[in-house]
């Protein structure tokens, strides 16, 4: 497993006249961790959905290691090496925790026994091993968030898209997840792009931050630069204490 470089070039998405995302461009170098932040409704999840193939952009292109992937089906984009989690978690509720992750692992390891083996290893790393035979629907929200990450990792991605996996976690749990992601990134060189409202996590993880508002990129830079950026402060006026 190693990381891939992500390029967004002038990516645009309209929903019946509503301009959800307008000509957004940024790059995440291979092996880097970047964050995508912005107020609610800024278009962050829409950007994720275009990278992951849920929507085809109306304009612009998404490239993974230089290869255009925009417009492909989600399963083919997974094939190309993009793993993603869902903001509103989507566990396979009626299946066990192990089965959930096994489905992801089967993508690269078609034999059930091998897929289960690698799923178990991932569950152990995320602290879900003891719950592997529970039904996914019986998990608490923090555990479901972890399950989302485990299932995405099981597909052996080169780029991991994390959509608010820290939301709802207690500060100590946030630190555990941050530690896990940092170690994962250092050990495997996996590229990570995260949408996050928990600034504690953004500050600790991201080398660079992209800020979007009303569908447009308004700033880009290191977390320190961003926290002093006037346009960003204006957007976040009501939430200043969080920054």
């Amino acid at each position: 497993m190693s990381g891939a470089r992500l390029d967004l070039g002038g990516v645009t998405k309209h929903f019946r006249g509503l301009r959800a995302v307008h000509e957004v461009s940024f790059t995440v170098p291979a092996g880097a961790i970047h964050a995508l932040i912005g107020p609610n409704g800024a278009g962050k999840t829409t950007i994720f959905n275009m990278i992951a193939g849920v929507y085809a952009p109306n304009g612009g292109v998404v490239r993974l290691d230089g290869k255009a992937i925009s417009g492909l089906r989600p399963d083919l984009i997974c094939d190309a090496g993009v793993g993603r989690t869902f903001q509103l978690v989507k566990p396979f509720k009626g299946l066990s925790v192990l089965e959930n992750v096994t489905v992801g692992a089967l993508h690269r390891k078609p034999r059930l026994a091998e897929a289960q083996e690698s799923a178990n290893a991932i569950l152990a790393r995320l602290g879900l091993y003891d719950r592997r035979h529970q039904l996914a629907e019986s998990l608490t929200l923090p555990d479901r968030k972890r399950l989302e990450v485990a299932r995405a990792l099981a597909t052996e991605p080169k780029l991991l898209l994390l959509d608010e996996v820290m939301a709802g976690l207690r500060p100590t749990e946030v630190d555990v997840m941050v530690g896990f992601l940092r170690e994962l990134n250092q050990r495997s060189g996996l590229t990570i792009l995260l949408i996050e409202h928990v600034m504690r996590a953004v500050m600790a993880l991201a080398a660079e931050v992209v800020v979007v508002s009303y569908g447009e990129k308004i700033a880009e830079g290191t977390p320190q630069e961003i926290s002093r950026h006037q346009a960003v402060l204006d957007v976040y006026l009501g939430e200043q204490e969080e920054l």
Binding site: F86, K93, L95, L106, N120
Partner: protein, 332 residues
């Protein structure tokens, strides 16, 4: 041997032994049972088999078909028609039956899945196809139209042309039911089977982890339709007559769905347990009706019994029974 070991997987030894004993008893059944009980057993195996076939699409892949009579009817008519008109035996005819039913399944599936019809809307599509096929067969001379198609009843056993008595058809349906059980077990332990379960639970999340959703659903409906068509072939040669009004009837489609629903959707033993319960109840209430001499009492009791089972065991009888018997599969 390794195939058998792989198939057994983590199943508890008790379940394997019980299955072995059950199979031995079923093989000996014609020697042990009288005519009546053999006919009951034939019914059970028939419903277990078609239930297993339907369960692949609904229980595994999560797509509700209420028109499976289409595939059984097509299978029966094609094999019987080829035999009736051209003397082509059913062992050859069944390939044509499977092919036609598979294509029909692919058409229904493509229209439904490509255009993302889900839940009841997909179910309506399946009903519509079964219905207009029924109307078409009503007017199709080759298939005998609404007057039906009849095969000559012969008592001498002729395996090549599937002519003979209940014992022959008992062993055929036993082979089908056992084969479908093994096939479903193997499917569930394959990547395809796991992908089906993921699609059933959440298609969007499944696609995000690399599951080719449309392709997997198409495979599910084609396998399900093909297996169901074999039940139709068996049916046609066992009963020796076919009418569009019954072969493609809504009631026929519903009857196919009952055993897995009562027994436990998406489980391997559900269709079998459901078939035993339903056929048992049906026979018991028929007897009760004969004793009480009240017309229609059978249907009322049957309906009430289904209501009670669905109300108290919404996940089906098998998951509850497996729990009681301590037969939960060990996990790796």
């Amino acid at each position: 041997m390794s195939f058998i070991r792989r198939l057994a997987g983590n199943a508890p030894p008790r379940i394997l032994w019980s299955l072995g004993v059950l199979l031995a008893l079923l093989l000996l059944a014609p020697a042990l049972l009288g005519k009546y009980w053999l006919s009951v057993l034939i019914l059970i195996l028939y419903f277990a088999y078609v239930g297993q076939a339907w369960n692949i699409l609904m229980g595994f892949a999560g797509q509700l078909s209420l028109g499976h009579a289409l595939y059984a009817g097509l299978g029966g008519y094609i094999a019987a028609g080829l035999y009736f008109h051209y003397g082509i035996g059913p062992w050859a005819g069944l390939f044509a039956a499977v092919a036609v039913a598979g294509v029909a399944g692919a058409i229904v599936g493509y229209l439904g899945f490509r255009f993302s019809l889900a839940g009841v809307y997909f179910a309506l599509l399946t009903i519509a196809f079964a219905e207009f096929t029924r109307v078409a067969f009503d007017h199709w001379g080759w298939a005998g139209g609404s007057g039906g198609l009849f095969l000559k009843v012969e008592h001498a056993t002729d395996i090549v042309n599937l002519r003979g008595g209940p014992v022959l058809f008992y062993y055929l349906i036993l082979a089908l039911a056992a084969g479908a059980f093994i096939l479903c077990r193997a499917l569930l332990r394959s990547r395809l089977g796991q992908y089906w379960l993921a699609i059933r639970e959440d298609a969007e999340a499944a696609q995000a982890v690399g599951v080719p959703v449309l392709r997997c659903k198409m495979i599910a409906i084609v396998i399900s339709a093909a297996l169901t068509s074999l039940a139709g072939v068996w049916n046609a040669f066992y009963y020796n007559n076919l009418f569009p009004e019954t072969a493609f009837a809504m009631g026929r489609s519903i009857e196919i769905t009952l055993a897995p629903i009562i027994g436990g959707l998406g489980t391997l033993f559900g269709p079998i347990v459901g078939a035993v319960v339903l056929t048992g109840l049906g026979e018991a209430f028929t007897d009760l009706g004969d004793v009480l001499r009240i017309p229609g009492i059978k249907q009322i009791f049957y309906g009430l019994a289904l209501l009670v089972i669905v109300a108290y065991r919404p996940a089906g009888v098998w998951p509850w029974l497996a729990d009681k018997l301590g037969l939960k599969e060990r996990q790796p």
